[in-house]
């Protein structure tokens, strides 16, 4: 019995010792931590490195913090990756040591000539020590050994070159074990067209070891029709560990921001590298603004090949009822469309009995007004000013000829805004209060100075009436317009992204508008569905006139410029090109709406077809070939709110540390950030199988549980 007690005592002591060991070790494990920040290793600056120019806007749009190491001018040192408070290099297991990055992205596979074998060792050691993943954007599937004996291999992706090409229909071959972890957002049933130079490879899987003893084991995710790998996961295994010591996602496809396939792949390079835990997020957006509701538009005459002021079109009640039905059909046909709604940017002057009256009255006898109000819950509305008047600067001198009438007082401009708000109330359209903060001026006027020339037909001496415009960033905006907008509490002003300096989400702080706060400019995408067309033949004629015939007519060769076309295009071709363009916009993750005009919603055949819904159907069809993510269709004021939130978050310095032992992230910032999007934390919105949190962060650190969503 005594002896037995002795054994028990020993066991107890051993258990206590083990417990003490765990407790003692715990702080060390607690330092097994990394900052939520990506290291981008490049071969040059953005001006030189195609890969950096590709991934940088993706990271910026998503709001992901990153640091660029330019191997052309900088050396990688261990202390750059993880340093103690004294600034010396440290290891994950050392007390107080926090890794500086939770993911690594290489813009090029072999980083030649800037990266040395020693630097590869430093990078790989960090990846192994802190269990950090690497994503390679492009390049040669290298296997390199030291030139001196014993010729140890220091870089090996486990791939062998098979062929090169610029035209692949790549197939998704994602192994089941990764199905919840990588490319969860793509439509894996469809091939992904690759249109850039790619090196197609085969996995070697031949047990050849790197000098650290690891063996690359390759699993292709995307393959050519001949079964060659274009994109693979490489797991570096050692005999003594069941889990990989290192993991790499490598693409041997050239990626650039102007390739659709690159836009499809972009998210996963970030998601993979960070193991799905990162500051920032991405959503896919699409909104369609139909401008000029209640007004009429002049029409393009295909016989004359020009706009005909004598011929106008204004939507009818039947067009609105048709639009309700087409919108429902769009939602049914496209599972990613959700509850998609058109946004009508309306001009109330066209919906009242007498636009000059001091007290406005809705024109209920107008079947368009009646149909819009009867179906108002099917759509959203935006203030487009009362009469669509120009907000541009008045001419100098005041009596100089001008294509448009201008306002010379803030009061007059304010009236354009407030009278439209009155009509909103008269028609009892939804969400008026929210929308008082948003304004789309007629033709995006007020943000640049067209110098009184906007109508091409009135200026035959000018090849392009926009050529003399004074841009927004060259003092072209009208301060009276901005002051009026500020006075009326407008926070968000629509801009035309095709105009210089209007293709950036930005606070308008370079103009004095008399307010403590600045208006926020929200760009909108243009399309090739013009304001003056209701049917395919008009559109086809105008498009071909713009991009082909007018050059022929003036003795120019349209084939000399990329912007023109070498031969006329059909409606279907124009639509397909525009749909592809729109999908590229969507895959850039920004929220900018596409704008159209009321004519485009006219029913042009007995099936109820409209140019507007032809375009939307083509866009969703193309999108769903590539992606399965639900499309966010936000009201414009909410686009404004989200944009403001993103800009605020981007201007803050966010500190985030992922404690790998507790699997929790501690967040703080140098200022209050009421809405910080973070991917991979418990409790957020589920999107594409991942959790995206909308977190309030300030100077006080707060801790959140990590949830990578791998079981969803």
């Amino acid at each position: 019995m005594k002896r037995n007690h002795g054994v028990k005592r020993k066991l107890l002591l051993a258990a206590i010792a083990m417990l003490l060991t765990i407790i003692a070790v715990a702080p060390v494990h607690a330092d097994n931590a990394v900052k939520l920040r990506i290291l981008v290793v490049s071969t040059g600056e953005v001006t030189e490195d195609l890969g950096l120019a590709y991934i940088k806007p993706v990271l910026d749009e998503m709001g992901v913090p990153y640091v660029v190491l330019n191997t052309r001018v900088q050396n990688l040192t261990p202390a750059f990756l993880a340093a103690s408070s004294q600034g010396t290099a440290c290891k994950a297991e050392a007390t107080g040591c926090v890794g500086n990055y939770n993911g690594v992205i290489l813009t090029d596979a072999d980083l030649i000539p800037g990266f040395t074998p020693a630097e590869w060792d430093i990078l790989h050691d960090y990846e192994k020590n802190f269990r950090i993943r690497e994503a390679v954007l492009s390049g040669w599937p290298a296997t390199y050994a030291n030139s001196k004996p014993p010729h140890e291999i220091y870089l090996d992706y486990g791939l062998v070159y098979s062929s090169s090409g610029r035209n692949y229909d790549a197939r998704w071959t994602i192994p089941g074990r990764y199905s919840k972890e990588v490319f969860e957002y793509v439509n894996r049933n469809n091939p992904l067209p690759i249109t850039s130079l790619a090196f197609a490879t085969h996995p070697r899987n031949d047990m050849k070891r790197l000098r650290d003893g690891s063996i690359p084991y390759v699993e292709p995710l995307l393959q050519t029709g001949q079964g060659e790998a274009l994109l693979s996961i490489v797991r570096y295994m050692t005999p003594d560990q069941p889990a990989p010591v290192r993991e790499v996602l490598i693409s041997t496809i050239t990626n650039a921001s102007f390739f659709t396939h690159s836009k499809v792949l972009a998210y996963e390079f970030v998601n993979w590298a960070t193991q799905g835990v990162f500051i920032g997020a991405r959503f896919i957006h699409l909104a369609a603004h139909v401008d000029d509701l209640f007004l009429s538009s002049t029409q393009w005459n295909p016989a004359l090949h020009q706009d005909n002021a004598a011929d106008t079109y204004r939507l009818t009640g039947a067009d609105i009822i048709n639009a309700v039905s087409k919108q429902a059909a769009l939602r049914t046909a496209h599972p990613t469309a959700g509850n998609f709604k058109l946004d009508f940017a309306f001009n109330g002057a066209g919906a009242v009995v007498n636009r000059e009256a001091i007290s406005l009255a809705a024109n209920w006898k107008d079947d368009l007004v009646a149909a819009v109000t009867a179906n108002k819950t099917h759509f959203r509305f935006i203030n487009h000013t009362f009469t669509h008047a120009s907000m541009d600067k008045p001419p100098v001198p005041a009596d100089a000829p001008c294509d448009y009438t201008t306002f010379t007082s803030i009061e007059a401009i304010r009236t354009e805004i407030t009278r439209n708000q009155n009509v909103w109330e008269l028609l009892d359209l939804p969400e008026r209060n929210e929308n008082n903060r948003v304004l789309i001026s007629g033709m995006h006027s007020g943000l640049e100075d067209p110098k009184c020339t906007v109508m091409q037909g009135l200026h035959p001496e000018m090849f392009d009436v926009q050529a003399d415009d004074i841009a927004f960033d060259a003092d072209g905006a009208n301060p009276l317009f901005l002051q009026a907008a500020a006075t009326e509490g407008v926070e968000y002003v629509a801009a035309d992204m095709a105009q210089r300096a209007q293709n950036v989400e930005q606070y308008i702080d370079q103009y004095e508008d008399g307010s403590q706060t600045d208006r926020l400019m929200l760009p909108r995408w243009w399309t090739n569905i013009y304001y003056n067309v209701t049917n395919p033949s008009q559109l086809e004629d105008e498009y071909n006139h713009m991009y082909y015939q007018r050059f022929i007519d003036t003795g120019q060769n349209p084939c000399r410029s990329r912007e023109m076309v070498c031969s006329p295009r059909s409606y279907r071709e124009i639509l397909a090109l525009d749909a592809d363009t729109a999908v590229r916009h969507m895959l850039s993750f920004n929220r900018w709406p596409h704008f159209f005009h009321q004519s485009n919603l006219a029913r042009y055949d007995e099936n109820g077809s409209t140019l507007q819904f032809d375009w939307l159907d083509a866009v969703f069809t193309e999108y769903e070939r590539l992606f399965s993510l639900p499309v966010k269709n936000l009201p414009y004021y909410e686009i404004g709110d989200r944009t403001a939130e993103s800009l605020n978050a981007r201007s803050a310095k966010i500190d985030a540390i992922w404690d790998r032992t507790t699997n929790r992230v501690t967040l703080s910032a140098n200022k209050a950030v009421p809405h910080l999007r973070v991917t991979g934390l418990s409790g957020g919105e589920i999107y594409g199988g991942q959790l995206i949190g909308n977190i309030r962060v300030n100077t006080k650190a707060t801790t959140y549980e990590v949830d990578r969503g791998l079981t969803r």
């Binding site: 071969t43 040059g44 953005v46 001006t47 030189e48 490195d49 195609l50 120019a53 090029d108 072999d110 030649i112 000539p113 390049g139 040669w140 290298a142 296997t143 390199y144 050994a145 030139s147 070159y161 090169s164 610029r166 035209n167 229909d169 091939p191 067209p193 249109t195 850039s196 130079l197 090196f199 050239t254 650039a256 921001s257 102007f258 390739f259 659709t260 084939c559 000399r560 410029s561 990329r562 912007e563 076309v565 070498c566 031969s567 006329p568 295009r569 059909s570 279907r572 071709e573 397909a576 090109l577 592809d580 363009t581 590229r584």
Partner: protein, 134 residues
């Protein structure tokens, strides 16, 4: 979209590296259809005819899908080409890429392997760096 439209579209796009063969696909479809028509056995009965018709429908659908894919790729390439033109930095980036691949080729030779694919890539990007217009 009819075949005429597709042909017109293809002829309007002249980006090097494009896909020839829309005409070839059309020809294949005709030959395939003729082959199916003349391969019907005379004594096979209604079931054989039904099967053959079904096969023909499948083949026609497949051919149509291929044509659609090819057209779609032409559209992608047309937009790639146009958008690349908007990238003012691309010529410099392509030049750097070409230079990088030449350096990689040297390394591949040092490693005792064939540098041809990488030299081809270098030549391709070198050419791209000088191509700002059609």
């Amino acid at each position: 979209m009819n075949v005429g439209e597709i042909q017109s579209f293809v002829s309007s796009q002249e980006e090097p590296g494009g896909i020839p063969g829309i005409n070839g696909i059309r020809l294949s479809a005709i030959l395939l259809s003729l082959l199916l028509v003349f391969s019907f056995p005379g004594t096979g009965g209604a079931a054989d005819l039904t099967n053959a018709a079904a096969e023909k429908t499948d083949e026609t659908a497949k051919t149509s899908r291929q044509m659609e894919d090819e057209t779609r790729k032409k559209i992608l390439q047309a937009n790639d080409f146009k958008l690349r033109g908007h990238e003012s930095l691309f010529p410099e980036q392509a030049k750097s890429l070409a230079k990088g691949y030449r350096e990689t080729a040297k390394m591949i030779v040092e490693q005792g392997c064939d540098p041809k694919p990488v030299l081809d890539a270098a030549a391709y990007f070198e050419k791209q760096s000088g191509r700002s217009e059609r």
